[in-house]
């Protein structure tokens, strides 16, 4: 029997299994266990959550493999980890230790300002951030098996995630309304591979799973992103920078499953304690914005 590992179908397949779920940033095995018990469908193992990366400044790199391995030991759900944009070797290290998904992430300091990783060369699947349809399709063209909005990580402010999800969905709706002969010019305008533009127009959605990320802090934020068309959500600093992470984590999981049910959303939003404080994006300097990293 010919057994094939690391095929694109197998890589995209894991992303499909994560749909309708919440992927939570964690920095310790204890946090990972809290996330799993709350119903997270995966965790993102990090050295610091994005809010602390912002506060710390300096160069943000891949987490210590030792920390990631301890988190992998602690839970049975998939474990993701971040590498820097364009840092081929960090990605190889993450694949070698057996993480289930690599996030080539703008939250870390880019290693390459011109090129992203050629993700076709890996057996481990990759998720990448995007601000619009062109960026999403460029990453898929490089082999990403999953897309997420960039949003603005570590701010607890959902406005950029909303902007990016609307931009992606709007781009898809435009394609759907175009006669086929206009798709080549649109591919040129988007800076996206023509074949993927055609595929997206045919499907009426991205060819891979598309999550929301970057600034989601409350159950209502998570449900809003689902309503806008996300297949699921990442929650970074929003859980473990809040007053009661256990309750907030469980509430956000429920909000993603029952996002069309305001009665459930009202119930799970009650008495959660203080959310993370959050940042008004107008107070950030251009250099402090993470979403502009990558292209």
């Amino acid at each position: 029997m010919a057994v094939e590992t690391g095929t694109y179908r197998v890589k995209c397949g894991l992303a499909q299994m994560l749909k309708g779920g919440v992927i939570m940033d964690v920095v310790t095995p204890e946090q990972a266990k809290i996330a799993e018990a709350a119903g997270a469908c995966a965790v993102m193992a990090l050295e610091r959550v994005p809010a602390d990366i912002r506060a710390a400044g300096g160069v943000a790199r891949m987490a210590d493999p030792e920390r990631i391995l301890k988190i992998m030991d602690a839970v049975s759900i998939p474990v993701m980890a971040k590498c820097r944009i364009g840092h081929i070797v960090e990605a190889q290290i993450l694949e070698a230790i057996g993480v289930d998904f690599v996030d080539e992430s703008e939250v870390l300091t880019p290693a390459d300002e011109a090129h992203h990783i050629n993700k076709w060369q890996f057996k481990v699947p990759f998720v990448c951030g995007a601000r619009d349809l062109g960026e999403a399709l460029r990453r898929i063209g490089e082999g990403a098996a999953m897309i997420r909005t960039k949003g603005e990580a570590g701010t607890g402010n959902v406005v950029e995630a909303v902007r990016h999800m609307r931009a992606i969905m709007d781009g898809i709706r435009r394609l759907q309304n175009m006669p086929e002969e206009e798709l080549m010019a649109e591919a040129k305008a988007l800076g996206a591979p023509y074949e993927l533009v055609k595929e997206t127009a045919r499907l009426g959605r991205l060819p891979v799973v598309n999550f929301a990320a970057g600034g989601i802090a409350t159950p209502a934020d998570a449900a809003l992103m689902m309503l806008l068309g996300a297949d699921g959500v990442f929650v970074g600093s929003g859980i473990f920078k809040s007053e009661d992470p256990e309750r907030r984590a469980a509430a956000i999981v429920k909000a993603v499953t029952y996002y069309r049910d305001p009665a459930v959303l009202a119930e799970v939003s009650r008495g959660l304690g203080e959310p993370m404080r959050g940042i008004d994006l107008r107070t950030l300097t251009p250099e402090e914005r993470l979403a502009v990293r990558g292209w």
């Binding site: 029997m1 010919a2 057994v3 094939e4 590992t5 690391g6 095929t7 179908r9 197998v10 397949g13 894991l14 499909q16 299994m17 994560l18 749909k19 309708g20 779920g21 799993e36 018990a37 709350a38 119903g39 997270a40 469908c41 995966a42 992998m72 049975s76 759900i77 998939p78 694949e95 057996g98 993480v99 289930d100 998904f101 057996k123 481990v124 699947p125 469980a250 999981v253 429920k254 993603v256 499953t257 029952y258 049910d261």
Partner: protein, 206 residues
């Protein structure tokens, strides 16, 4: 046309719905106990079993599902769905539905880089092999006497050792389970097989 519920708490429920719709059946998303009314069968999709169980507990789905299963209601679980249907799931910090006399070891193949696809022989579906996609799949480590094994992974140098020779598609009366994901391919034979199970129950005199 049958009304088939698809457990829609988390996971790839839409992929199952799309196959059912393509086959001319009505797919109904199940998130609450009341969604289980007037269904002819239920599919439990792939996803994370811990997430399924947490939400099944919080939204009161365990008891109605156990009641339906005890009445011969046709249910098919793929991957995470298989785990939840099993008599026992090793390392799962939640109870299972115990509707299928198998013991499963979650993630026994290893991590995602060990996930695989292969041509699988399923004799009951005919000679043409089935493309089977295993994503962080459970391994069936023990099968009870009343359980029919529809497909096994062969032994062989290519086959992941944890799964060599183990059952990957099983049926016990009205309960079907597969460790792999037919909903990720265009081959709808297992969906048709399940719809036959549903039709057979409907034809049965009450």
């Amino acid at each position: 046309m049958a009304r088939i519920g698809v457990l829609a708490l988390q996971g790839d429920f839409l992929e199952h719905e799309n196959v059912l719709t393509r086959l001319g059946q009505q797919a109904v998303e199940v998130r609450r106990p009341q969604d289980l009314l007037d269904l002819d069968g239920l599919i439990m999709p792939g996803g994370e079993s811990t997430t399924f169980c947490r939400l099944m507990a919080d939204f009161g789905l365990y008891e109605p599902l156990r009641d339906l299963l005890s009445q011969g209601f046709p249910v098919w679980g793929t991957c995470a769905g298989m785990i939840v249907l099993a008599r026992q799931a090793l390392d799962l910090p939640f109870p299972t539905l115990g509707a299928l006399d198998i013991v499963v070891d979650r993630n026994a193949y290893g991590r995602q880089v060990d996930s695989f696809e292969a041509e699988l022989s399923v004799p009951t579906l005919g000679e043409e092999p089935l493309r089977a996609v295993f994503i962080r799949a459970p391994v069936v480590v023990s099968v009870g006497e009343g359980v029919e094994v529809l497909a096994r992974l062969p032994e062989g140098p290519d086959v992941p050792p944890a799964g060599a020779g183990t059952a990957v598609a099983v049926r016990q009366g009205h309960v079907l389970a597969t460790a792999f994901h037919p909903e990720l391919t265009d081959d709808a034979r297992l969906h048709l097989y399940f719809l036959d199970m549903v039709a057979a129950r409907q034809a049965r005199p009450v």
